[in-house]
């Protein structure tokens, strides 16, 4: 950047040489009355000097530009990566408070806009400022009154512009907000296109979309209109430096204070100062742009990170314990109010409760997507906040409802569980999660890109891929948030078998949306309104907990073919396998028959 600056300044001063050359030529011409041929040498000499300085000036300019751009684009890259790093280190809640449109707009568009000020303005602005100053000084050397008259238009123009642009910041703020809104709405529109298609007839486009588009237009137009008069008035006055120079020059000539060639030089310099001065005027806008973009980037770069120690802790065992945990997603409503639960090493604990009771929140807190407001969550006696996030993720496999397939192939996605796993190990994990049959069905099999697979696979199948990932990861604690959607029975059976594989010999915490899956749990916690209202085995709860028994009733009532009561307490795993085996037998028979 410094090199760019030096080169830029050098190129600007070389750019002054031709003006001087023109002055000398005019001087020669003015002084010569009859025998102009004698002056040809001088004229040619100054012409050659002009050309040489032009060439040098441009070479310096070119080098400066390239240098400035390399630095600028590197800075942009660093900024983008900084934003990403920040997002990844902040709590999930903090990150998700930002809309995706907002983020995209910042990372892609706004940061790109800093390029212009960075690559052009820093070297060019200072160079142009210097140039304007140098010309002003030169004019002052000719005559200080000429210098003043030349720069007269600048304050007048700026005053006009300043008066007209009083609202500039407010308007620009509004402009960016409107633009943000349009972009976020477009993102949504595309993501929800199926709903848009199915639900949105009769209107040209969905209302929110067209509203955002037209209000953006309206805003922009009104802003433009309000700035036209001052802007164009200023841009008509400022560059007309001759407005002062020519009349004042005439007066000075009459008084005999300047010569005719000096008048000529003054005019040439007055014309030369136009470019840097208008440049400075234009950069006024650009400086605003950069400050806005930086403020936006700041918003992300200043996100609070989840504090984490550098040293790995030494937990004893894989026991998970909540001690009087309070938590709220945002001010006001508590999602969890004083939850205490315990899952000893190797046990199977289930959480049940009405939707919105806080079950899934508990799972997210174990994975430390958020931090608790008060109370503590410990693993093997160590507070999750007292271990590095990497260690926590080594300890806990969290299969969530909305696990996401990342860019890459299906195989890559499974391997994500343990990046150093071999292909065979990854395939074995996939087999354990019964992913094999549907992966084989895909035209590209294991190498299907996840984006495509995401659209071809059902929700249950996607979740099985995520389970395979967790199986490969082989962490001592498994937190499984049962999906509410897409669990048709045959998928459910397979998912259960997969989870059984996943949780062999591990601490298993299941967030259950269907009671059927958790009858065999060692302890079932019944959660309601963010509190534990009952805990115990299935049979105990049926007897003692009204909520649980009514849920059970609803569940069995909804299942027409429900048989008998829930006496069975075979292990979750073996039961699931049993059913799956039966289902497999059926499918075999199906395909045979």
């Amino acid at each position: 950047m410094i090199l760019a600056e030096v080169l830029s300044v050098a190129s600007v001063f070389l750019g002054l040489v031709p003006f001087y050359a023109v002055y000398r030529i005019i001087e020669v011409v003015a002084a010569t009355t009859d025998d102009i041929y004698a002056s040809w040498d001088a004229i040619l000499f100054w012409s050659v000097v002009s050309i040489a300085s032009y060439v040098l000036q441009r070479v310096f300019f070119g080098l400066s530009t390239i240098n400035a751009h390399i630095s600028a684009y590197t800075i942009l890259g660093t900024l983008r990566e900084g934003v990403a790093t920040k997002l990844m280190n902040a709590s999930l809640g903090t990150a998700q408070d930002k809309t995706i449109g907002n983020l995209k707009n910042l990372v892609v568009d706004k940061i790109e806009k800093i390029e212009i000020p960075l690559a052009h303005m820093i070297p060019e602005l200072s160079a142009n400022l210097l140039l304007a100053l140098a010309i002003a000084i030169w004019l002052a050397i000719i005559d200080w009154r000429i210098a003043l008259s030349c720069l007269l238009t600048v304050p007048i123009g700026l005053l006009v512009m300043g008066l007209g642009m009083q609202n500039y910041y407010k308007m620009y703020d509004g402009y960016l907000k409107e633009q943000d809104r349009v972009n976020s709405v477009v993102v949504e529109y595309i993501e929800g296109i199926r709903v848009v298609k199915a639900f949105n007839q009769a209107t040209n486009s969905y209302k929110k979309f067209s509203d955002a588009v037209s209000s953006f237009l309206k805003f922009t137009l009104s802003w433009m209109k309000s700035s036209w008069i001052p802007q164009h008035l200023a841009m008509s006055i400022i560059p007309t430096t001759l407005l002062g120079v020519a009349p004042v020059g005439i007066l000075l000539f009459e008084m005999g204070d300047i010569t005719a060639p000096e008048f000529g030089l003054s005019c040439v310099l007055a014309l030369a100062v136009v470019t840097p001065v208008t440049y400075l005027g234009a950069s006024f806008n650009e400086i605003n742009l950069i400050s806005y973009a930086i403020a936006d980037a700041r918003e992300f770069l200043d996100l609070p990170e989840l504090p984490q120690p550098a040293e790995r802790a030494v937990p004893s065992g894989a026991e998970v314990k909540f001690d009087d945990v309070h938590f709220s997603y945002r001010e006001g409503k508590e999602a969890l109010s004083g939850v205490s639960i315990e899952a000893s090493s190797g046990s199977f604990v289930a959480l049940v409760g009405p939707s919105g009771s806080g079950k899934s929140t508990i799972a997210r807190l174990i994975a430390r997507h958020w931090d608790v407001d008060s109370g503590s969550i410990t693993i093997g006696g160590v507070d999750v906040r007292s271990m590095p996030l990497s260690q926590l993720s080594d300890l806990v496999s969290y299969v969530s409802q909305d696990d996401y397939l990342l860019d890459g192939t299906l195989l890559d996605n499974i391997r994500m569980g343990r990046p150093d796993a071999t292909e065979e190990e990854a395939m074995a994990a996939a087999q354990a999660a019964s992913c094999e049959e549907f992966i084989k069905r895909l035209p590209q099999g294991w190498d299907t890109p996840s984006g495509e697979a995401g659209r071809m696979l059902s929700g249950g199948e996607r979740q099985r891929v995520c389970i395979a990932r967790a199986i490969l990861k082989d962490a001592p604690i498994v937190v499984f948030d049962e999906a509410t959607a897409f669990a048709d029975p045959e998928n459910e059976a397979r998912i259960q078998r997969s989870v059984a594989q996943l949780s062999k010999g591990k601490t298993l915490i299941v967030i259950a949306h269907r009671l059927s899956t958790i009858v065999a749990a060692n302890t079932i916690y019944v959660i309601e309104d963010g509190s534990v209202v009952a805990q115990g085995g299935h049979d105990d709860l049926l007897r003692e907990c009204k909520l649980y028994s009514s849920m059970w009733e609803a569940h069995t009532g909804a299942s027409t073919w429900a048989v008998g009561d829930g006496g069975a307490s075979k292990a979750f795993a073996s039961k699931a396998q049993e059913v799956d085996a039966r289902w497999c037998a059926h499918t075999i028979r199906l395909s045979l028959g």
Binding site: V22, I25, V186, L389, R469
Partner: protein, 586 residues
């Protein structure tokens, strides 16, 4: 460059008149801008003469000069203001129109389009590319033409006073155009890489955001970061690459014009010596020599921009010209609502010519007012069948008819207004709950929204939220559980109150304690309607008027529960498994 120019003008379309009107004003603005320089040159001539001859100059000259130049400023302001009024907002107006057009087309594209085109591509077209177009499109066209008009005005004057000088100027402009063409070609070659990198970055940013949770759970932030960092680096390289191509051309462009200006002075001096030029004219040329080409000198930026704009426009056009699925459709009001599949086959294409047939010659009909349950293993084609009814895709062969009309005869709007759909994966817009429920039932009153919410059994939990129906939900709002979101989507379908209801596994996704309630809500939703349900629950299946058993894209059995349960076959075994699935824990 001319192509890009033409493209922008075509894009501007009916607003073209205003664009050209602006150009006409530009000619006069250029004159008003150049005039003060001529005045000064003429004055300098007077001064030199007076110095040579020892005569005094007119005492009023200074004031006349001030008034004349001030007049030029006034005219310049008036003209440029008038030009802004008619020309400057064109880009914004057209961009807004284009956004609306694209929004409308996006809605009418087959879903297959979204499987072959990444969200990032579409996004950056509608946001980044259109933003560039509205900001720069008209401005660059104007800058290019404006600079040539300004240079043209002066060149024309040069031709009048000294044809030789005119020729020098013309040659300089001509040669400079070659470098401009070079810049444009270079940009056309190199800027698509940057565009692609930008699109990739868009996609990577969306993926990064969506993958945050997964990254946290697996501590594999690298897997999430890598594509993002790669896209960032790719974009950096592409941009620097462009700069390396651009700078030498930009430098030569400016240099050519600058050298030409020196030559211009030399030629003019020769003219003065030979006596063919008057002194003040010569001085005018000398004055102008430093600035005559400065407008054109800046055009390298425009040339570069033009390639960029061309690319933007091409992307916008590609999107805007994607063939809507209902291009030949008409707005038809249906008078009956039975559904008929006539020997329907369907294949998913992967966009590369590779096809996978998922529906094989399926025929069935659903009489108006009846309930049809579709059952079968996952991946057997159930969801595809319902998607074909709503014409999210077009059949490969055969026909789907609603009320006796081939769905291909209808526009998407006139077809889909007959459907209420509840999908297995609920999508809520980042908007209030009320707006999400009223989505698709424009003009619904708050009372109607609340009524629908009550019937879908969501009123209670909505009322318990701090802002009630005005609570904003969406991706960030993790305040709703999956079941609650599902019920909101049922309320949405209820409010729409369309004659055909399509449910995709809706019943399976609700919490146990709500199941019975939801069952009532669904009963309300489906009462007296033609219902197609992808069913998993035996209660639903048993009550259906007709059951279609689908396996591997074919209907393997059909009939009522009583009939199918009695005949040996897939269904019997299927029911047996379902009984176990629903009852095995008990």
């Amino acid at each position: 460059m001319v192509r890009a120019y033409n493209k922008i003008v075509t894009w501007i379309g009916s607003l073209k008149g205003r664009l050209y009107g602006g150009f006409v004003l530009s000619i006069f603005t250029a004159m008003a801008t150049a005039l003060p320089t001529f005045i000064s040159a003429w004055i300098l001539g007077q001064l030199i003469d007076s110095a040579r001859n020892g005569t005094r100059i007119d005492g009023n000259l200074a004031w006349v000069c001030l008034a004349a130049i001030a007049g030029c400023v006034a005219v310049r302001f008036a003209l440029s203001y008038a030009k802004a009024r008619i020309q400057e907002s064109i880009g914004y107006e057209r961009a807004a129109e284009t956004r609306q057009e694209v929004g409308d087309i996006l809605k009418r594209l087959p879903l297959g389009y979204y499987q072959h085109t990444s969200t990032g591509d579409i996004l950056s077209t509608v946001t980044t590319n259109l933003n560039t177009l509205e900001l720069e499109g008209v401005r660059q066209v104007d800058a290019a033409l404006g600079s040539y008009i300004a240079a043209g005005v002066i060149t024309a004057w040069l031709f009048v006073v000294s044809p030789l000088c005119g020729i020098v100027a013309l040659v300089a402009i001509g040669v400079a155009i070659l470098t401009l063409v070079g810049v444009n070609k270079m940009s056309a070659r190199r800027s698509p890489a940057a565009k692609t990198a930008t699109e990739r970055l868009s996609g990577a940013t969306v993926a990064l955001y969506n993958g945050l949770g997964t990254a946290k759970s697996y501590g594999t932030s690298q897997a999430v970061r890598r594509p993002f960092d790669k896209a960032v680096e790719e974009l950096r390289r592409a941009r620097i690459d462009i700069e390396f191509g651009y700078t030498p051309l930009n430098v030569s462009h400016k240099l050519i014009l600058e050298i030409a200006s020196v030559i211009l002075v030399l030629v003019a001096t020769a003219g003065l010596v030979s006596g063919s030029l008057e002194l003040w004219v010569y001085l005018g040329i000398a004055f102008f020599s430093t600035t005559v080409f400065s407008g054109i000198g800046r055009l390298t930026d425009s040339a570069h921009m033009f390639a960029d704009l061309n690319d933007c426009l091409e992307r916008v056009e590609a999107l805007a010209s994607a063939t809507p699925i209902d291009r030949d459709g008409k707005d038809i009001r249906l008078d009956r609502y039975d559904i008929e599949f006539d020997d329907v086959s369907f294949s998913y294409g992967d966009g590369n010519g590779c096809e996978r047939q998922v529906i094989h010659g399926v025929s069935f009909s659903v009489p108006e007012g009846s309930t049809c349950a579709i059952v079968g293993p996952s991946g057997s084609g159930k969801t595809t069948l319902t998607s074909l009814m709503a014409r999210f895709y077009d059949v490969s062969s055969g026909a789907v008819r609603i009320g006796g009309r081939d769905v291909r005869e209808l526009t998407c709007d006139s077809l889909l207004c007959n459907f209420s759909m509840v999908f297995q994966d609920v999508y809520l817009f980042n908007d209030t709950i009320a707006a999400n429920i009223a989505f698709g039932a424009e003009g619904a009153t708050r009372g109607e929204v609340v009524e629908a919410a009550k019937r879908a059994r969501c009123h209670d939990f909505i009322s318990a939220l701090p802002n009630g129906y005005d609570t904003v939900v969406g991706k960030g709002g993790n305040t709703l559980s999956g079941g609650e979101r599902q019920r909101i989507s049922i309320a949405r379908a209820l409010l729409k109150d369309a004659p055909i209801v399509v449910l995709d596994e809706a019943t399976a996704s609700i919490d146990p304690e709500n199941e019975r309630q939801i069952q009532h809500a669904l009963d309300e939703l489906t009462r007296n309607k033609t219902v197609v349900v992808i069913a998993h629950r035996l209660a639903t299946i048993e009550n259906a008027d007709q059951i279609l058993v689908v396996d591997d894209g074919r209907i393997v059995q059909r009939g009522t529960h009583a009939k199918l349960a009695a005949e040996p076959g897939v269904y019997q075994r299927f029911v047996a498994i379902r009984k176990e699935a629903e009852g095995w824990k008990i």
